[in-house]
Subunit: 98 residues, 2 copies
Amino acid sequence: MAELDPVIHAQARLKIMSTLAALDTDGSIAFPRLQEVLSMTAGNLSTHLRKLEDADYVEQQKAFSGRTPVTYVSATRAGRRAFEDYLEQLRDLLGGTP
Amino acid sequence: MAELDPVIHAQARLKIMSTLAALDTDGSIAFPRLQEVLSMTAGNLSTHLRKLEDADYVEQQKAFSGRTPVTYVSATRAGRRAFEDYLEQLRDLLGGTP
């Protein structure tokens, strides 16, 4: 039976990857906006993003909006591929399901 | 954003529920057979089944095959409903996904 990537399967990270994968390729989302979409605290979101970064699935880039630093988050190419593999394995796993 | 039932979302329990939900209503599966289908150790399977029993999602019944006691495992009605809800919330969560 399929083994689901535990880096992606954890509920918070599944939501993050699902949101990032829905962006255009090369698309990114500002950290505060992502926080709002997912209703997560900054600390919780940061923790999960770090885990996804460690797996090379997401990237964070700092930019300036006027004088304010803003962090933009995006899925890497490896992250998108891992997420697609995850979805396929999930479909396999749920295959017998009505 | 949808919250996934953590009792079901854990990978091992997702596999168990998916397997049990694929049985006929009123269908059950022998513990050793379930263990084989899922490639899980008896201890690991027992632990997860206990958690699912505590949530009233599965039922275990002892029967005899000749003199050998066999445990049969099935999803309860509440378990099937919870699993369907889980799948719907998962679809919601993955909704933005290509």
